[in-house]
Amino acid sequence: MRYESLIDSVGSTPLIGLPRLSPSPRVRLWAKLEDRNPTGSVKDRAALAMVRSAEEAGTLHRGMTLLEPTSGNTGISLAMVAKLRGYRLVVVMPENTSAERRELLTMWGAEIVSSPAAGGSNEAVRVAKSLAAEHPDWVMLYQYGNPANAGAHYATTGPEILADLPTITHFVAGLGTTGTLMGVGRFLREKVPGVAVVAAEPRYGELVYGLRNLDEGFVPELYDPAVLTTRYSVGPHDALRRTRQLLEQEGIFAGISTGAILHAALGVAAKAEQAGQRADIAFIVCDGGWKYLSTGAYSGTLDEAEDAIEGQLWA
């Protein structure tokens, strides 16, 4: 495939069958390899769409500064787009994110402001909002509330999956900004009667839920529960176990959040198999495992790996 520039090559990722992890020929799992995007994650789609949308709205011009709260992937994607389009980028990132993410952001030219580990991305959002108030000339695209985030998946990821898998019965993805699930979910619900839209939500260590009070809770503005069929909470043990299983049985080297998504997808598959129903289950591989090597997720026993990622934002 030939493209005019790197930005033009975002999307059109492969959908890969998983013959060894699928329970039977009637209940099949399909992995959408979003790590094949230019910076190696699904976030390239949202980052590009949000920048394009701001450019088209006339709120973003060459030389301006972008600001974004992010635990890593969105920042890396924005840094690439910002470099190619001529913007400065400031990212606010929780300090309990992997070293690779920081190095990559710096390499792509982003400036990093650290937010406290306690409170996770909640704190990053809070710090970013206060920075935005101090610098009214900066543009915060704000992935949690920007319709272009979900719009990117409605316009690209959803149609790609349906074109490759017209017999789809279930779509499973991670719940973070909710952009992927809202966009793909809405698209599929319009086209495929009865399709199930399943969220896998990572369950972190206690530090991440260390709010001072409940009023500091956070639900992304993009989130509409009516798009979902159900929502599972997946802890680090299951996420790590499935991440390793995906590598050992199907040869796919994915990040830890993908393990959490696969866990939910396998649960859905087992239910369909038990009920004697046909199922074609597509799920998102958010990124490759490269950025998480230093976390210890792939070495030693599962218990050792679980201890190693305790307190980290692993998805």
């Binding site: 990053a124 939500e201 409940l214 809770g217 159900t230 599972y232 909470s233």
Partner: protein, 92 residues
């Protein structure tokens, strides 16, 4: 047998610091009423007059109860219930 309920850090002042407590009931609403009887005040932190509070998520065996039956979700002995505040997590 009872239903194990995992308590987030924020609500442990109500459970004397316990990370998990046992409760009884046939529905989530009954379970929360039982918890409130044993740990007075916790019920009000979980529910308002419209049901579960906006920033409270409750999972029955890892599935979000909002997609089951909300506070009317049936629960039974041996189930595991996890309460967590809604946070931005590690998104993006």
């Amino acid at each position: 047998m009872a239903i194990e309920v995992r308590i987030p850090t924020l609500l442990r002042p109500y459970t004397g610091g316990a990370k998990a407590v046992d409760g009884h009931g046939a529905t989530l609403a009954e379970l929360i009423a039982d918890l409130d009887a044993r740990h007075p005040g916790i019920g009000e932190r979980l529910l308002d007059d419209r049901g579960l509070r906006r920033f409270i998520n409750v999972y029955l065996n890892d599935e979000d109860v909002r997609f089951l039956g909300g506070v009317d979700t049936a629960v039974s002995d041996g189930d595991s219930v996890t309460i967590l505040p809604a946070v931005a997590g590690g998104a993006g």
